[in-house]
Amino acid sequence: MRQSTCGNCKKTVPMNQLFTVFEKVLCTECANQELGGYQGKQLAPGDVSREVDPTICVHCQMDNGNEPYSLLAGAPACESCEAFLRHRPYPAWLKAAAFSLLLLAAFAFVHNWRFVQAYLEWNRGMRLLQKGDLDKATPLIVAAADHVPESKELDTSANMFRAISLLKEDKSREALQLLRQCKKHWPNNPTVNSLLLQAELGAAFDDKDYDKFLAAAQALLAANPNDSSAMAAVASAYACKYAVTGRAPFKKESLRYLDLARQKAPPGDPHFRDYADRITHRLQTREIITREEYERRFPPNREGAKP
């Protein structure tokens, strides 16, 4: 510890107890006297400062005899204080909180992974749908719904895509059940309503209820007045009515709607061409057969075999 003398009273005191007040080195008592008249007045930075004994650690007050400590940020610091300040540990509460919260985040990540999977499957499915690949998209959307069974939206979407696949396979009755569930959740969705009519007309065809088939086809056309498939469905229904009754007005109406559909259909559309061929065959033979039977009799690659 170093000693020094007060510039006013000349008393020798430990250096740490001295202050520089307006450039005069004073002991505590003299400094208080000097500053007594300044109470409430503004002091500039540096007007008053404490003298620092370079042999005393400012952090732990350890005395190093007459040997000065090395300076840390301008103040003497012993080795152990310097080591502590350079590697100051985080408080235990902070470490415990960080560990617990990161553990919670990891747990939540694992627990909620199914939502991420569903989101990825849904997006992949939608991307495939945009490319027109319904066959590959449907299982992805169904898998997404299976991962998040609590999502009614996802479940309804999956049912809708399942129903579309069933309609493509001519399983109208099964599709109808699924679409009725969709309708409960999305009562005003035009796609669901349109698919429901397609399923209803498919089911009516399977039941050989051609009046119902015609009514559903006309409702579908009313909902989609510019859709070539809806026009072809009306043509198909009239063709069925003609096949059963043999009445010429039904044939005439069927041909009229088929002609309208042909004008609206995309040029060279193979699906429309097949549908139109089946309707023409029905009108020519008055025989009502399923698509499966038609394709068995007239395989698609044997163009010349078609009537």
Binding site: A73, E82, R86, L94, L104, Y119, N123, V148, L154
Partner: protein, 178 residues
């Protein structure tokens, strides 16, 4: 425009203040800079602080100033990611997910370096720019950006940054994974 006192915002988002100061301290420890005093959170201005010795190199100053931006941003994504999809995409009302979103957003909101951090960085960058230190030269536009971002705090820029980081970035990343 809703004006909420700064101390109240700090109180509501206190985990962000704690992480911000812990990040400053982390880079001090990493670069062997003595931490003379630290306050992780208090009701006042500033809401937290780290007092450290002056760094010897500019790189150290840079990382101590920018540290919270890096660490708070990463932690914001880490905490929001597991909660974002169930809440935002599937509308699930899971209390754990809401807690993680509050935590992540609070941390993200305090990612931006403060004007105090920017002042320190500006001072150090000016001193180091004489030796054409590349990081010091790059710091000048960065400091300007920090000042602008702090000015925009009045318009909830810090909240928007946390939202973008916690919600929009994970969603964008997941979409890219498809």
């Amino acid at each position: 425009m809703i004006i909420i006192p700064g101390w109240l915002v700090s109180l509501i988002t206190f985990p962000g203040v704690i992480v911000h100061e812990a990040a400053h301290m982390f880079f001090c420890k990493l670069r062997g800079v003595a931490v003379l005093d630290v306050c992780f959170f208090r009701i006042g201005n500033p809401a937290g602080y780290v007092i450290h010795e002056p760094p010897r190199e500019f790189t150290t100053s840079f990382f101590i100033s920018i540290g919270p931006f890096l660490i708070n941003s990463v932690l914001c994504v880490v905490f929001c990611l597991p909660a974002m999809v169930p809440v935002r995409v599937f509308g699930q009302s899971d209390p754990v997910a809401y807690f993680l979103i509050w935590l992540g957003m609070s941390i993200g909101m305090h990612a931006l370096p403060s004007t105090g951090d920017a002042n320190g960085l500006w001072r150090e960058a000016r001193a180091a720019a004489g030796s054409l230190h590349p990081l010091a030269l790059a710091s000048f536009p960065l400091v300007i950006l920090i000042y602008v971002a702090n000015g925009l705090r009045f318009f909830w820029f810090d909240y928007l940054y946390g939202f973008a980081l916690g919600f929009l970035l994970p969603e964008m990343l997941l979409k890219r994974m498809v």
